[in-house]
């Protein structure tokens, strides 16, 4: 990064160029980003961060693009952070979500950023939260975060959003396995996307019985835009400032839990690589490893 970070930042006047570079600095945890992150974390920025997760191909990116369209109709500025997994083997990643959002490509009030998980495990979650803060500080009042809902990583990322959507769609085969507990609990709203496809009605009915309250389940067709305005309304109704004290506390507990797990996972991951796995059965080796763990600050 060429120019140093100014001590008191005029968030609203940052150019897209500068924002893009700041995002890189935050993502890579560069020293020069530390002040920025500290400043970003000092206050709550106006706006709303929405987490969107769900199995591959359920239509998350298309849905986000449709939500952006609706938000733009309301003259809202929107930031999107799309997270895709890095390859463990090569460190590379194919970040393809933006492809589905290109209709907003030259809209100066829409900023899309693609992020790879870079083997952080759940540890990418804090960086993504900071990116969302930066976007909100810069005046993108709505921030939509996409993650592929396969595991803990995604749950951690979206659980830190103000409102969380779990996207499902008919015809994905074993999509129901993505519903394994946790994520259904974390999700504020369950979206049955591809409502134009066969099986959507059944899937919706099934999800309504699983989700504690049927009104949490909504149907959309992201490609035609059907149900998008209603979804946006439902998201709006779940703004944290409208939530009760208990549900706010629950959300905070969830965020802290997610954070702690993410930190743990990163550290464990690093130590497990050097573990002695040669003696005994694999089970014994695992037990021995766990017993030997010691934490240092």
């Amino acid at each position: 990064m060429s120019d140093p970070v100014p001590s008191s930042i005029e968030w609203g006047t940052l150019t897209t160029r500068r924002l893009g570079q700041l995002m890189t600095a935050i993502e890579e945890q560069r020293p020069e980003a530390a002040d920025v992150v500290a400043a970003l974390q000092r206050q709550t920025w106006p706006g709303l961060t929405v987490g969107v997760t769900g199995p591959p191909g359920s239509g998350k990116s298309t849905l986000i693009s449709a939500l952006v369209r609706e938000l733009r109709r309301r003259r809202e500025r929107v930031g999107v952070v799309a997270v895709d997994p890095s390859s463990d083997r090569t460190g590379g990643a194919f970040l393809g979500d933006r492809l589905r959002m290109m209709e907003h490509a030259t809209d100066a009030d829409v900023l899309v950023r693609s992020i790879a998980t870079r083997g952080h495990g759940g540890g990418v979650a804090p960086a993504v939260s900071d990116l969302a803060r930066l976007l909100r500080a810069a005046g993108y009042a709505w921030v939509l975060i996409e993650t592929v809902g396969a595991g803990q990583v995604e749950t951690d990322v979206v659980a830190r959003a103000d409102v969380t959507l779990l996207v499902q769609a008919p015809g994905l085969g074993d999509e129901i396995q993505a519903l394994k507990k946790g994520i259904l609990e974390v999700a504020d709203l369950v979206v049955v996307n591809k409502s134009d496809q066969p099986g959507a009605v059944e899937l919706r009915r099934q999800l309504e019985t699983w989700a504690a309250s049927p009104e949490r389940v909504l149907a959309t067709c992201a490609t035609s835009g059907e149900g998008i305005a209603e979804l946006l309304q439902a998201i709006d109704a779940r703004r944290p400032e409208r939530a009760s004290e208990t549900s706010r506390l629950r959300a905070r507990r969830e965020e802290v839990r997610g954070l702690a797990l993410a930190i743990l996972r990163d550290r464990l991951d690093a130590s497990l690589r050097d573990a002695d796995v040669t003696r005994g059965t694999t089970w014994e080796a695992a037990e021995r490893l766990v017993a030997s763990l010691r934490f240092e600050p």
Binding site: M1, S2, T15, T16, R17, L19, G20, Q21, M23, T24, S86, S87, D88, T90, G91, G92, A93, F94, L95, G96, R98, L99, M102, A105, T106, L111, V112, R113, S114, A116, R118, G119, H120, G123, D266, R267, L268, D269, A270, S271, R273, D274, A275, L289, S292, L293, R294, F295, E296, P297
Partner: protein, 145 residues
């Protein structure tokens, strides 16, 4: 055993954007390069076909990529490639190197290089050479910043 505090974060080689300006719909070359770059350790953002120079430049700036790769088979390279460079300049990203590929007559290459394109590849160029050009451009840029 010690549990290290700053655990296993992994680094990519860099971030690149692959874009196709112009009207042709031949995606094979662009997708092949995108895949090869990802396999080589880059984070690759693919913007799809028929993008305007402004769309490509805006995406490159929002994504803060280290290198932009352009692919074009429609023959409009002499106008579209310099237009991408101009759009990048407009956004304050003149320092982002642009590597181009496609059906480009030898005679046009010097002009493109003079215009500011970092490297030009024509069909049949070995993939190792293309990857090496991205590596070099990326390393040079990361050193500068």
């Amino acid at each position: 055993m010690r549990v290290a505090m700053n655990g296993g974060t992994q680094r990519s080689r860099g971030r690149v954007l692959i874009g196709k300006p112009g009207l042709d719909g031949h995606t094979r070359g662009a997708k092949f390069i995108a895949k090869a770059l990802a396999d080589h350790g880059y984070e690759v953002i693919y913007t799809g076909i028929r993008r305007t120079p402004a769309e490509i430049a805006t995406a490159a700036v929002q994504e803060d990529v280290d290198v932009v790769g352009l692919s074009l088979l429609s023959g409009a390279h002499n106008t579209l490639f310099p237009q991408v460079l101009a759009e990048l300049r407009k956004l304050g990203a003149a320092d982002v190197p642009v590597i181009a590929g496609g059906v480009i007559p030898q005679a046009d290459i010097p002009g493109l290089l003079t215009a500011g394109i970092t490297a030009v590849f024509t069909p049949g160029a070995p993939i190792e050479q293309i990857l090496a050009a991205f590596d070099e451009a990326c390393t040079r840029r990361r050193k500068m910043s």
